[in-house]
Protein backbone atom coordinates (compact mmCIF):
# COMPACT_ATOMS: atom_id res chain seq x y z
CA UNK A 1 0.00 0.00 0.00
CA UNK A 2 2.77 2.38 0.98
CA UNK A 3 4.78 1.23 -1.98
CA UNK A 4 1.98 2.06 -4.42
CA UNK A 5 1.48 5.46 -2.78
CA UNK A 6 5.21 6.12 -3.03
CA UNK A 7 5.32 4.98 -6.63
CA UNK A 8 2.26 7.09 -7.51
CA UNK A 9 3.80 10.22 -6.01
CA UNK A 10 7.07 9.58 -7.81
CA UNK A 11 5.28 9.03 -11.13
CA UNK A 12 3.34 12.25 -10.67
CA UNK A 13 6.61 14.04 -10.05
CA UNK A 14 8.09 12.39 -13.14
CA UNK A 15 5.15 13.66 -15.18
CA UNK A 16 5.71 17.18 -13.87
CA UNK A 17 9.40 16.98 -14.76
CA UNK A 18 8.56 15.88 -18.28
CA UNK A 19 6.03 18.67 -18.65
CA UNK A 20 8.61 21.23 -17.52
CA UNK A 21 11.22 19.80 -19.88
CA UNK A 22 8.67 19.95 -22.71
CA UNK A 23 7.81 23.60 -21.89
CA UNK A 24 11.45 24.68 -21.55
CA UNK A 25 12.67 22.95 -24.67
CA UNK A 26 9.69 24.25 -26.62
CA UNK A 27 10.45 27.75 -25.35
CA UNK A 28 14.10 27.40 -26.34
CA UNK A 29 13.06 26.30 -29.79
CA UNK A 30 10.77 29.33 -30.11
CA UNK A 31 13.63 31.61 -29.07
CA UNK A 32 16.24 29.93 -31.25
CA UNK A 33 17.25 31.57 -34.53
CA UNK A 34 16.10 28.47 -36.42
CA UNK A 35 13.26 29.32 -38.75
CA UNK A 36 11.07 26.20 -38.95
CA UNK A 37 10.06 26.93 -42.55
CA UNK A 38 13.71 27.27 -43.62
CA UNK A 39 14.54 24.13 -41.67
CA UNK A 40 11.71 22.25 -43.40
CA UNK A 41 12.65 23.45 -46.86
CA UNK A 42 16.35 22.88 -46.46
CA UNK A 43 18.28 23.42 -49.69
CA UNK A 44 15.06 24.17 -51.60
CA UNK A 45 14.79 27.40 -49.66
CA UNK A 46 15.96 29.45 -52.63
CA UNK A 47 13.27 28.10 -54.93
CA UNK A 48 10.37 29.18 -52.74
CA UNK A 49 8.81 32.62 -53.03
CA UNK A 50 7.98 34.74 -49.98
CA UNK A 51 4.26 34.28 -50.69
CA UNK A 52 4.59 30.50 -50.57
CA UNK A 53 6.52 30.80 -47.31
CA UNK A 54 3.76 32.77 -45.65
CA UNK A 55 1.32 30.16 -46.92
CA UNK A 56 3.31 27.37 -45.32
CA UNK A 57 3.67 29.31 -42.09
CA UNK A 58 -0.06 29.96 -41.99
CA UNK A 59 -0.93 26.36 -42.76
CA UNK A 60 1.37 25.19 -39.92
CA UNK A 61 -0.03 27.72 -37.49
CA UNK A 62 3.18 29.73 -36.95
CA UNK A 63 1.15 32.93 -36.82
CA UNK A 64 -0.70 31.76 -33.75
CA UNK A 65 0.62 32.83 -30.31
CA UNK A 66 3.26 30.62 -28.68
CA UNK A 67 0.85 29.27 -26.05
CA UNK A 68 -1.54 28.03 -28.72
CA UNK A 69 1.32 26.41 -30.60
CA UNK A 70 2.55 24.75 -27.41
CA UNK A 71 -0.94 23.51 -26.66
CA UNK A 72 -1.21 22.10 -30.15
CA UNK A 73 2.19 20.38 -29.91
CA UNK A 74 1.37 18.96 -26.49
CA UNK A 75 -1.90 17.53 -27.78
CA UNK A 76 -0.09 15.82 -30.62
CA UNK A 77 2.47 14.54 -28.13
CA UNK A 78 -0.18 13.07 -25.85
CA UNK A 79 -1.80 11.22 -28.73
CA UNK A 80 1.61 9.67 -29.40
CA UNK A 81 2.31 11.73 -32.51
CA UNK A 82 5.89 12.99 -32.28
CA UNK A 83 6.05 14.44 -35.75
CA UNK A 84 8.12 13.84 -38.85
CA UNK A 85 11.91 13.96 -38.96
CA UNK A 86 12.91 15.66 -42.19
CA UNK A 87 16.58 14.68 -42.03
CA UNK A 88 15.83 10.95 -41.79
CA UNK A 89 12.53 11.24 -43.70
CA UNK A 90 10.82 8.99 -41.16
CA UNK A 91 8.41 9.45 -38.27
CA UNK A 92 10.35 10.70 -35.23
CA UNK A 93 9.19 7.74 -33.13
CA UNK A 94 10.72 5.33 -35.65
CA UNK A 95 14.03 7.19 -35.64
CA UNK A 96 14.23 7.19 -31.86
CA UNK A 97 13.21 3.57 -31.71
CA UNK A 98 15.90 2.37 -34.14
CA UNK A 99 18.60 4.64 -32.84
CA UNK A 100 17.95 3.90 -29.20
CA UNK A 101 18.14 0.18 -29.80
CA UNK A 102 21.66 0.64 -31.12
CA UNK A 103 22.64 3.10 -28.41
CA UNK A 104 21.06 0.98 -25.71
CA UNK A 105 23.71 -1.72 -25.93
CA UNK A 106 26.45 0.85 -26.04
CA UNK A 107 25.04 2.67 -23.00
CA UNK A 108 24.19 -0.46 -21.05
CA UNK A 109 27.52 -2.19 -21.54
CA UNK A 110 29.49 0.99 -20.84
CA UNK A 111 27.37 1.65 -17.77
CA UNK A 112 27.70 -1.86 -16.35
CA UNK A 113 31.39 -1.96 -17.09
CA UNK A 114 32.05 1.38 -15.39
CA UNK A 115 29.92 0.43 -12.38
CA UNK A 116 31.56 -2.93 -11.82
CA UNK A 117 35.10 -1.78 -12.55
CA UNK A 118 34.59 1.41 -10.55
CA UNK A 119 33.32 -0.39 -7.46
CA UNK A 120 36.04 -3.04 -7.59
CA UNK A 121 38.84 -0.51 -8.09
CA UNK A 122 37.38 1.86 -5.50
CA UNK A 123 37.15 -0.85 -2.87
CA UNK A 124 40.62 -2.15 -3.65
CA UNK A 125 42.07 1.35 -3.36
CA UNK A 126 40.08 2.46 -0.32
CA UNK A 127 40.62 -0.65 1.76
CA UNK A 128 44.21 0.36 2.38
CA UNK A 129 44.57 4.10 2.14
CA UNK A 130 47.99 5.29 1.05
CA UNK A 131 49.17 1.89 -0.14
CA UNK A 132 50.91 1.50 -3.49
CA UNK A 133 47.74 0.02 -5.00
CA UNK A 134 45.71 2.95 -3.69
CA UNK A 135 48.12 5.48 -5.15
CA UNK A 136 48.16 3.70 -8.52
CA UNK A 137 44.38 3.43 -8.74
CA UNK A 138 43.67 6.98 -7.55
CA UNK A 139 46.32 8.34 -9.89
CA UNK A 140 44.71 6.54 -12.78
CA UNK A 141 41.24 7.72 -11.73
CA UNK A 142 42.33 11.36 -11.43
CA UNK A 143 43.90 11.24 -14.88
CA UNK A 144 40.87 9.70 -16.58
CA UNK A 145 38.46 11.93 -14.66
CA UNK A 146 40.16 14.95 -16.14
CA UNK A 147 40.31 13.60 -19.69
CA UNK A 148 37.78 14.95 -22.22
CA UNK A 149 35.66 12.19 -23.78
CA UNK A 150 36.12 13.16 -27.40
CA UNK A 151 39.88 13.43 -27.04
CA UNK A 152 40.14 9.98 -25.49
CA UNK A 153 37.87 8.63 -28.22
CA UNK A 154 40.10 10.10 -30.93
CA UNK A 155 43.24 8.72 -29.32
CA UNK A 156 41.66 5.28 -29.02
CA UNK A 157 40.58 5.42 -32.63
CA UNK A 158 44.07 6.43 -33.74
CA UNK A 159 45.80 3.73 -31.75
CA UNK A 160 43.50 0.71 -32.04
CA UNK A 161 41.79 1.28 -35.36
CA UNK A 162 44.28 3.17 -37.47
CA UNK A 163 47.70 2.10 -36.19
CA UNK A 164 47.02 -1.39 -34.86
CA UNK A 165 43.97 -2.16 -37.00
CA UNK A 166 42.34 -4.25 -34.29
CA UNK A 167 38.98 -2.54 -34.37
CA UNK A 168 36.89 -1.01 -37.17
CA UNK A 169 37.16 2.73 -37.66
CA UNK A 170 33.48 3.54 -37.86
CA UNK A 171 29.83 2.69 -37.85
CA UNK A 172 27.75 -0.16 -36.45
CA UNK A 173 28.69 -2.61 -39.17
CA UNK A 174 30.96 -2.93 -42.23
CA UNK A 175 30.15 -0.51 -45.04
CA UNK A 176 28.30 -1.94 -48.02
CA UNK A 177 26.57 -4.67 -45.98
CA UNK A 178 22.88 -4.54 -45.17
CA UNK A 179 22.24 -4.07 -41.50
CA UNK A 180 20.16 -7.26 -41.38
CA UNK A 181 23.13 -9.30 -42.60
CA UNK A 182 25.60 -8.09 -40.00
CA UNK A 183 26.34 -10.89 -37.55
CA UNK A 184 26.19 -10.40 -33.81
CA UNK A 185 29.93 -10.88 -33.55
CA UNK A 186 30.64 -8.13 -36.06
CA UNK A 187 28.22 -5.87 -34.22
CA UNK A 188 30.04 -6.50 -30.96
CA UNK A 189 33.36 -5.89 -32.69
CA UNK A 190 32.09 -2.49 -33.81
CA UNK A 191 30.76 -1.74 -30.33
CA UNK A 192 33.98 -2.64 -28.54
CA UNK A 193 35.95 0.58 -28.82
CA UNK A 194 33.06 3.04 -28.25
CA UNK A 195 31.97 1.05 -25.20
CA UNK A 196 35.44 0.93 -23.69
CA UNK A 197 35.98 4.64 -24.26
CA UNK A 198 32.66 5.54 -22.72
CA UNK A 199 33.14 3.15 -19.78
CA UNK A 200 36.64 4.37 -19.04
CA UNK A 201 35.33 7.81 -18.18
CA UNK A 202 32.49 6.56 -15.99
CA UNK A 203 34.95 4.36 -14.12
CA UNK A 204 36.92 7.32 -12.78
CA UNK A 205 34.12 9.07 -10.88
CA UNK A 206 32.69 5.86 -9.48
CA UNK A 207 36.16 4.71 -8.41
CA UNK A 208 36.90 7.98 -6.62
CA UNK A 209 33.58 8.06 -4.78
CA UNK A 210 33.75 4.41 -3.79
CA UNK A 211 37.33 4.85 -2.65
CA UNK A 212 36.48 7.83 -0.45
CA UNK A 213 33.58 5.98 1.15
CA UNK A 214 35.65 2.87 1.63
CA UNK A 215 38.59 4.75 3.17
CA UNK A 216 36.22 6.43 5.63
CA UNK A 217 34.71 3.07 6.47
CA UNK A 218 38.11 1.53 7.17
CA UNK A 219 38.69 4.23 9.81
CA UNK A 220 35.30 3.59 11.44
CA UNK A 221 34.54 1.85 14.72
CA UNK A 222 32.91 -0.96 12.77
CA UNK A 223 36.12 -1.73 10.88
CA UNK A 224 38.22 -1.50 14.05
CA UNK A 225 35.85 -3.94 15.74
CA UNK A 226 36.15 -6.30 12.79
CA UNK A 227 39.94 -6.14 13.09
CA UNK A 228 39.54 -6.95 16.78
CA UNK A 229 37.65 -10.07 15.77
CA UNK A 230 40.69 -11.15 13.80
CA UNK A 231 39.30 -10.30 10.39
CA UNK A 232 41.68 -9.69 7.52
CA UNK A 233 41.50 -6.53 5.45
CA UNK A 234 40.01 -8.50 2.58
CA UNK A 235 37.37 -10.02 4.85
CA UNK A 236 36.37 -6.57 6.08
CA UNK A 237 36.28 -5.12 2.58
CA UNK A 238 34.16 -8.01 1.34
CA UNK A 239 31.71 -8.49 4.22
CA UNK A 240 31.21 -4.88 5.33
CA UNK A 241 32.89 -2.54 2.89
CA UNK A 242 31.17 -3.75 -0.26
CA UNK A 243 27.74 -2.93 1.09
CA UNK A 244 28.78 0.39 2.61
CA UNK A 245 30.63 1.54 -0.49
CA UNK A 246 28.19 0.22 -3.08
CA UNK A 247 25.51 2.61 -1.81
CA UNK A 248 27.12 5.77 -3.18
CA UNK A 249 28.36 3.87 -6.23
CA UNK A 250 24.91 2.67 -7.25
CA UNK A 251 23.28 6.02 -6.60
CA UNK A 252 26.01 7.76 -8.52
CA UNK A 253 25.75 5.31 -11.39
CA UNK A 254 22.01 5.87 -11.78
CA UNK A 255 22.24 9.58 -11.17
CA UNK A 256 24.97 9.96 -13.78
CA UNK A 257 22.89 8.47 -16.59
CA UNK A 258 22.64 12.00 -17.94
CA UNK A 259 26.42 12.33 -18.11
CA UNK A 260 26.62 8.91 -19.68
CA UNK A 261 24.16 10.03 -22.34
CA UNK A 262 26.13 13.21 -22.87
CA UNK A 263 29.31 11.16 -23.22
CA UNK A 264 27.65 8.88 -25.76
CA UNK A 265 26.85 11.95 -27.82
CA UNK A 266 30.55 12.68 -28.25
CA UNK A 267 31.68 9.09 -28.53
CA UNK A 268 29.09 8.22 -31.16
CA UNK A 269 30.11 11.30 -33.09
CA UNK A 270 33.79 10.39 -33.10
CA UNK A 271 33.23 6.72 -33.94
CA UNK A 272 30.43 7.56 -36.40
CA UNK A 273 28.26 5.09 -34.53
CA UNK A 274 24.66 5.53 -35.74
CA UNK A 275 23.00 5.76 -32.33
CA UNK A 276 20.75 8.23 -30.59
CA UNK A 277 23.67 10.48 -29.66
CA UNK A 278 24.65 10.95 -33.27
CA UNK A 279 21.02 11.62 -34.18
CA UNK A 280 20.91 14.32 -31.49
CA UNK A 281 23.93 16.09 -32.98
CA UNK A 282 22.50 15.78 -36.50
CA UNK A 283 19.10 17.07 -35.37
CA UNK A 284 20.71 20.04 -33.67
CA UNK A 285 23.02 20.96 -36.54
CA UNK A 286 20.43 20.49 -39.24
CA UNK A 287 17.49 22.06 -37.41
CA UNK A 288 15.29 18.99 -37.16
CA UNK A 289 13.00 20.55 -34.57
CA UNK A 290 10.54 17.66 -33.97
CA UNK A 291 13.38 15.16 -33.59
CA UNK A 292 15.37 17.39 -31.23
CA UNK A 293 12.35 18.05 -29.01
CA UNK A 294 11.47 14.38 -28.92
CA UNK A 295 15.03 13.41 -28.01
CA UNK A 296 15.08 16.04 -25.25
CA UNK A 297 11.91 14.55 -23.79
CA UNK A 298 13.14 11.01 -24.19
CA UNK A 299 16.45 11.81 -22.48
CA UNK A 300 14.62 13.48 -19.61
CA UNK A 301 12.51 10.36 -19.20
CA UNK A 302 15.57 8.13 -19.34
CA UNK A 303 17.48 10.12 -16.70
CA UNK A 304 14.44 10.55 -14.42
CA UNK A 305 13.71 6.84 -14.46
CA UNK A 306 17.37 6.28 -13.60
CA UNK A 307 17.05 8.54 -10.55
CA UNK A 308 13.82 6.82 -9.56
CA UNK A 309 15.60 3.47 -9.61
CA UNK A 310 18.50 4.92 -7.59
CA UNK A 311 16.08 6.05 -4.88
CA UNK A 312 14.40 2.66 -4.79
CA UNK A 313 17.71 0.81 -4.62
CA UNK A 314 19.01 3.01 -1.85
CA UNK A 315 16.16 1.94 0.35
CA UNK A 316 16.73 -1.65 -0.48
CA UNK A 317 20.45 -1.50 0.29
CA UNK A 318 20.24 0.56 3.49
CA UNK A 319 17.76 -0.79 6.05
CA UNK A 320 17.87 2.48 8.00
CA UNK A 321 16.28 4.39 5.14
CA UNK A 322 13.59 1.77 4.58
CA UNK A 323 12.66 1.90 8.24
CA UNK A 324 12.41 5.67 8.21
CA UNK A 325 9.92 5.47 5.42
CA UNK A 326 7.60 3.04 7.19
CA UNK A 327 7.62 5.30 10.22
CA UNK A 328 6.19 8.16 8.24
Amino acid sequence: MRLTAWLASRLLRLLLVLLSVAAVSFGLMMLSPIDPVDAYLGPQMAQVSPEQRTLIAERWGFNAPASVQFHHWLQQLLSGELGWSHIYNQPVSDVINQRFQRSFFLLLSAWLLSLILGVVLGIAAGSKEGSLLDRLISGYAYITASTPTFWLAMLALLLFSVTLGWTPTCCAGPTGVLSQEVTLLTQLHHLLLPTLTLALLGVATITLHTRAKMAAFMRSDTALHAFAQGASRFDIAWRHGLRHASLPAVTLAFASLGELFGGSLLVEQVFAYPGLGQATVAAGLRSDVPLLLAIALFTALFVSVGNLIADGLYQWADPRIARDRTNE
Binding site: S220, D221, T222, L224, H225, A226, F227, A228, Q229, G230, A231, D235, R239, H240, R243, H244, A317, D318, P319, R320, R323
Partner: protein, 273 residues
Protein backbone atom coordinates in the same frame (compact mmCIF):
# COMPACT_ATOMS: atom_id res chain seq x y z
CA UNK B 1 47.32 -15.04 31.83
CA UNK B 2 48.27 -11.49 30.82
CA UNK B 3 51.23 -9.61 32.18
CA UNK B 4 51.93 -6.04 31.27
CA UNK B 5 55.38 -4.91 32.24
CA UNK B 6 56.31 -1.23 32.16
CA UNK B 7 54.25 -0.50 29.07
CA UNK B 8 54.85 2.95 27.61
CA UNK B 9 52.84 4.23 24.70
CA UNK B 10 53.47 7.43 22.78
CA UNK B 11 51.45 8.94 19.97
CA UNK B 12 52.72 11.59 17.57
CA UNK B 13 51.13 14.98 17.12
CA UNK B 14 51.98 17.87 14.92
CA UNK B 15 52.08 21.25 16.70
CA UNK B 16 53.18 22.92 13.47
CA UNK B 17 53.26 21.66 9.89
CA UNK B 18 56.54 19.87 9.82
CA UNK B 19 57.31 19.43 13.48
CA UNK B 20 56.45 16.15 15.12
CA UNK B 21 56.26 15.71 18.85
CA UNK B 22 55.29 12.81 21.00
CA UNK B 23 52.67 12.76 23.69
CA UNK B 24 52.92 10.04 26.30
CA UNK B 25 49.55 8.33 26.72
CA UNK B 26 50.61 5.38 28.86
CA UNK B 27 53.68 5.55 31.03
CA UNK B 28 55.45 2.60 32.53
CA UNK B 29 52.25 0.75 33.33
CA UNK B 30 52.42 -2.71 34.87
CA UNK B 31 49.47 -5.03 35.44
CA UNK B 32 48.92 -8.72 35.94
CA UNK B 33 45.67 -10.46 35.10
CA UNK B 34 45.28 -14.02 36.38
CA UNK B 35 42.60 -16.31 34.92
CA UNK B 36 39.20 -16.45 36.60
CA UNK B 37 39.27 -12.84 37.75
CA UNK B 38 37.57 -9.62 36.81
CA UNK B 39 40.20 -6.93 36.87
CA UNK B 40 38.74 -3.43 36.80
CA UNK B 41 40.81 -0.65 35.27
CA UNK B 42 39.35 2.57 36.61
CA UNK B 43 40.24 6.08 35.54
CA UNK B 44 38.91 9.32 34.19
CA UNK B 45 38.31 9.99 30.51
CA UNK B 46 41.62 10.45 28.77
CA UNK B 47 43.54 8.41 31.33
CA UNK B 48 44.60 6.01 28.55
CA UNK B 49 42.24 3.15 29.36
CA UNK B 50 41.00 2.52 25.83
CA UNK B 51 44.51 2.87 24.44
CA UNK B 52 45.61 0.20 26.88
CA UNK B 53 42.95 -2.10 25.40
CA UNK B 54 44.10 -1.33 21.85
CA UNK B 55 47.73 -1.89 22.83
CA UNK B 56 46.87 -5.37 24.11
CA UNK B 57 44.82 -6.17 21.01
CA UNK B 58 47.42 -4.71 18.64
CA UNK B 59 45.00 -2.20 17.18
CA UNK B 60 47.01 0.97 17.74
CA UNK B 61 47.57 3.37 14.87
CA UNK B 62 50.71 2.57 12.89
CA UNK B 63 52.50 5.68 14.04
CA UNK B 64 52.28 4.70 17.73
CA UNK B 65 55.53 4.11 19.63
CA UNK B 66 55.34 1.29 22.14
CA UNK B 67 57.92 0.23 24.70
CA UNK B 68 57.78 -2.31 27.49
CA UNK B 69 56.60 -5.89 27.51
CA UNK B 70 53.30 -7.67 26.99
CA UNK B 71 53.17 -11.35 27.83
CA UNK B 72 50.17 -13.57 27.22
CA UNK B 73 50.14 -17.10 28.62
CA UNK B 74 53.84 -16.85 29.28
CA UNK B 75 54.87 -15.82 25.78
CA UNK B 76 55.69 -12.42 24.33
CA UNK B 77 52.76 -10.76 22.68
CA UNK B 78 54.36 -9.60 19.44
CA UNK B 79 52.36 -7.85 16.70
CA UNK B 80 52.37 -11.07 14.67
CA UNK B 81 51.07 -13.05 17.62
CA UNK B 82 48.45 -10.40 18.34
CA UNK B 83 47.20 -10.74 14.76
CA UNK B 84 47.07 -14.48 15.19
CA UNK B 85 45.30 -14.42 18.57
CA UNK B 86 42.83 -11.61 17.91
CA UNK B 87 39.35 -13.02 17.83
CA UNK B 88 40.61 -16.43 18.92
CA UNK B 89 42.29 -15.96 22.31
CA UNK B 90 41.91 -12.21 22.75
CA UNK B 91 38.48 -10.64 22.55
CA UNK B 92 37.45 -7.02 22.79
CA UNK B 93 34.04 -5.67 23.70
CA UNK B 94 34.32 -2.19 22.21
CA UNK B 95 33.14 0.95 23.91
CA UNK B 96 31.16 2.38 21.01
CA UNK B 97 27.87 0.90 19.85
CA UNK B 98 28.90 2.11 16.39
CA UNK B 99 31.16 -0.92 16.36
CA UNK B 100 28.20 -2.90 15.07
CA UNK B 101 27.86 -2.79 11.31
CA UNK B 102 24.74 -0.65 10.76
CA UNK B 103 23.91 -2.60 7.61
CA UNK B 104 24.01 -6.11 9.07
CA UNK B 105 21.53 -8.09 11.14
CA UNK B 106 22.48 -9.21 14.65
CA UNK B 107 22.65 -12.85 13.66
CA UNK B 108 25.05 -12.05 10.80
CA UNK B 109 27.29 -9.94 13.00
CA UNK B 110 27.67 -12.74 15.51
CA UNK B 111 28.02 -15.38 12.81
CA UNK B 112 30.78 -13.43 11.05
CA UNK B 113 32.61 -13.11 14.36
CA UNK B 114 32.32 -16.89 14.72
CA UNK B 115 33.62 -17.46 11.20
CA UNK B 116 36.55 -15.17 11.96
CA UNK B 117 37.22 -17.23 15.07
CA UNK B 118 37.63 -20.28 12.85
CA UNK B 119 34.18 -21.85 12.80
CA UNK B 120 32.90 -23.34 9.54
CA UNK B 121 29.83 -21.87 7.89
CA UNK B 122 27.17 -24.03 9.47
CA UNK B 123 28.99 -24.34 12.78
CA UNK B 124 29.24 -20.56 12.93
CA UNK B 125 25.52 -20.29 12.26
CA UNK B 126 24.79 -22.64 15.13
CA UNK B 127 27.21 -20.90 17.44
CA UNK B 128 25.64 -17.53 16.68
CA UNK B 129 22.14 -18.80 17.46
CA UNK B 130 23.42 -20.39 20.65
CA UNK B 131 25.02 -17.16 21.86
CA UNK B 132 22.09 -15.00 20.90
CA UNK B 133 19.81 -17.17 22.97
CA UNK B 134 22.29 -17.19 25.86
CA UNK B 135 22.07 -13.39 25.94
CA UNK B 136 18.28 -13.35 25.43
CA UNK B 137 18.58 -11.95 21.93
CA UNK B 138 16.90 -14.71 19.90
CA UNK B 139 13.95 -12.47 19.08
CA UNK B 140 16.35 -9.77 17.85
CA UNK B 141 18.45 -11.95 15.58
CA UNK B 142 17.05 -10.38 12.40
CA UNK B 143 17.18 -6.84 13.78
CA UNK B 144 19.55 -4.22 12.46
CA UNK B 145 21.58 -2.23 15.02
CA UNK B 146 19.31 0.82 14.77
CA UNK B 147 16.40 -1.37 15.83
CA UNK B 148 18.15 -2.52 19.01
CA UNK B 149 18.04 -0.80 22.36
CA UNK B 150 21.35 0.25 23.92
CA UNK B 151 21.32 -2.74 26.23
CA UNK B 152 20.54 -5.16 23.44
CA UNK B 153 23.29 -3.74 21.23
CA UNK B 154 25.69 -4.06 24.16
CA UNK B 155 24.72 -7.71 24.59
CA UNK B 156 25.23 -8.35 20.87
CA UNK B 157 28.76 -6.99 21.30
CA UNK B 158 29.29 -9.28 24.30
CA UNK B 159 27.95 -12.24 22.34
CA UNK B 160 30.38 -11.43 19.52
CA UNK B 161 33.29 -11.42 21.97
CA UNK B 162 32.14 -14.78 23.31
CA UNK B 163 32.01 -16.78 20.08
CA UNK B 164 35.57 -18.00 20.35
CA UNK B 165 35.98 -18.93 24.02
CA UNK B 166 38.74 -16.36 24.18
CA UNK B 167 40.95 -16.64 27.26
CA UNK B 168 41.12 -12.89 27.76
CA UNK B 169 38.13 -10.61 27.35
CA UNK B 170 38.63 -6.85 27.44
CA UNK B 171 35.41 -4.93 28.04
CA UNK B 172 35.77 -1.23 27.29
CA UNK B 173 33.14 0.79 29.18
CA UNK B 174 30.48 -1.87 28.75
CA UNK B 175 27.93 -0.30 31.09
CA UNK B 176 27.94 3.20 29.70
CA UNK B 177 24.53 4.66 28.93
CA UNK B 178 22.53 1.76 30.28
CA UNK B 179 19.69 1.81 32.79
CA UNK B 180 20.41 0.09 36.12
CA UNK B 181 18.63 -3.08 35.12
CA UNK B 182 20.46 -3.45 31.80
CA UNK B 183 23.76 -2.48 33.43
CA UNK B 184 23.45 -5.20 36.04
CA UNK B 185 22.71 -7.75 33.34
CA UNK B 186 25.78 -6.73 31.38
CA UNK B 187 28.01 -6.81 34.47
CA UNK B 188 26.59 -10.19 35.49
CA UNK B 189 27.41 -11.51 32.01
CA UNK B 190 31.02 -10.36 32.44
CA UNK B 191 31.27 -11.97 35.87
CA UNK B 192 29.95 -15.20 34.37
CA UNK B 193 32.74 -15.09 31.77
CA UNK B 194 35.35 -14.79 34.54
CA UNK B 195 33.76 -17.67 36.44
CA UNK B 196 34.37 -19.85 33.37
CA UNK B 197 38.08 -19.45 34.10
CA UNK B 198 38.81 -16.62 31.72
CA UNK B 199 40.46 -13.33 32.49
CA UNK B 200 38.27 -10.25 32.18
CA UNK B 201 39.63 -6.72 32.00
CA UNK B 202 36.83 -4.32 32.81
CA UNK B 203 37.71 -0.82 31.66
CA UNK B 204 35.45 1.76 33.23
CA UNK B 205 35.20 5.11 34.96
CA UNK B 206 32.36 3.84 37.11
CA UNK B 207 34.16 2.61 40.22
CA UNK B 208 31.01 1.97 42.21
CA UNK B 209 29.52 -0.55 39.78
CA UNK B 210 32.86 -2.05 38.84
CA UNK B 211 33.29 -3.02 42.49
CA UNK B 212 30.16 -5.18 42.35
CA UNK B 213 31.92 -7.72 40.14
CA UNK B 214 35.64 -6.91 40.25
CA UNK B 215 38.16 -9.00 42.13
CA UNK B 216 40.87 -6.40 41.82
CA UNK B 217 40.94 -2.78 40.81
CA UNK B 218 43.70 -0.77 39.18
CA UNK B 219 43.39 2.98 39.36
CA UNK B 220 44.87 4.75 36.37
CA UNK B 221 45.63 8.39 36.07
CA UNK B 222 47.27 10.10 33.12
CA UNK B 223 48.57 6.83 31.76
CA UNK B 224 50.08 5.63 35.00
CA UNK B 225 48.81 2.83 37.21
CA UNK B 226 48.68 4.48 40.64
CA UNK B 227 47.57 1.46 42.55
CA UNK B 228 46.24 -2.04 42.18
CA UNK B 229 44.16 -3.09 45.14
CA UNK B 230 41.78 -5.96 45.91
CA UNK B 231 38.14 -4.91 45.64
CA UNK B 232 37.72 -5.42 49.39
CA UNK B 233 40.12 -2.54 50.02
CA UNK B 234 37.43 -0.16 48.85
CA UNK B 235 35.50 0.04 52.07
CA UNK B 236 35.08 2.30 55.07
CA UNK B 237 37.14 5.44 54.66
CA UNK B 238 39.48 3.69 52.22
CA UNK B 239 42.18 3.21 54.88
CA UNK B 240 43.55 0.18 53.04
CA UNK B 241 44.16 2.16 49.88
CA UNK B 242 47.68 3.37 49.35
CA UNK B 243 47.37 6.27 46.96
CA UNK B 244 45.61 9.51 47.78
CA UNK B 245 43.97 9.54 44.38
CA UNK B 246 42.35 6.12 44.86
CA UNK B 247 41.19 7.14 48.34
CA UNK B 248 39.78 10.41 47.02
CA UNK B 249 38.04 8.51 44.25
CA UNK B 250 36.46 6.22 46.81
CA UNK B 251 35.54 9.08 49.11
CA UNK B 252 33.98 11.04 46.29
CA UNK B 253 31.33 8.41 45.58
CA UNK B 254 27.80 9.51 46.47
CA UNK B 255 27.33 6.48 48.75
CA UNK B 256 30.35 7.50 50.82
CA UNK B 257 31.36 10.89 52.06
CA UNK B 258 30.62 12.43 48.63
CA UNK B 259 33.56 14.66 49.42
CA UNK B 260 36.16 16.24 47.27
CA UNK B 261 39.49 16.52 48.92
CA UNK B 262 40.56 20.14 49.47
CA UNK B 263 44.15 19.69 48.38
CA UNK B 264 43.41 17.61 45.29
CA UNK B 265 40.96 19.82 43.45
CA UNK B 266 41.69 18.27 40.06
CA UNK B 267 40.92 14.74 41.15
CA UNK B 268 37.20 14.99 41.28
CA UNK B 269 36.22 14.40 37.64
CA UNK B 270 36.25 10.60 37.68
CA UNK B 271 33.49 10.27 40.20
CA UNK B 272 31.38 12.83 38.44
CA UNK B 273 31.78 11.23 35.06
Amino acid sequence: MLTIDRLTLQLPYYPRWWRREWTTCIESLSLHLPPGEVHAVVGASGAGKSLLAYAIMGLLPQAARVAGELRFQGEDLTPARQRQLRGHQLALIPQSLNALDPLARSQHQVRWAAQRAGFGRSAAHQRADELLSRYQLSHASTHYPHELSGGMARRVLIAMAQVSNARLVIADEPSVGLDPNQRDRVLAALKAIALEGKAVMLITHDLRHALTIADRVSVIRQGQALETAPAQAFQGQGEQLMSCYARDLWQALPDNAFSTHPFHPTHQEPALA
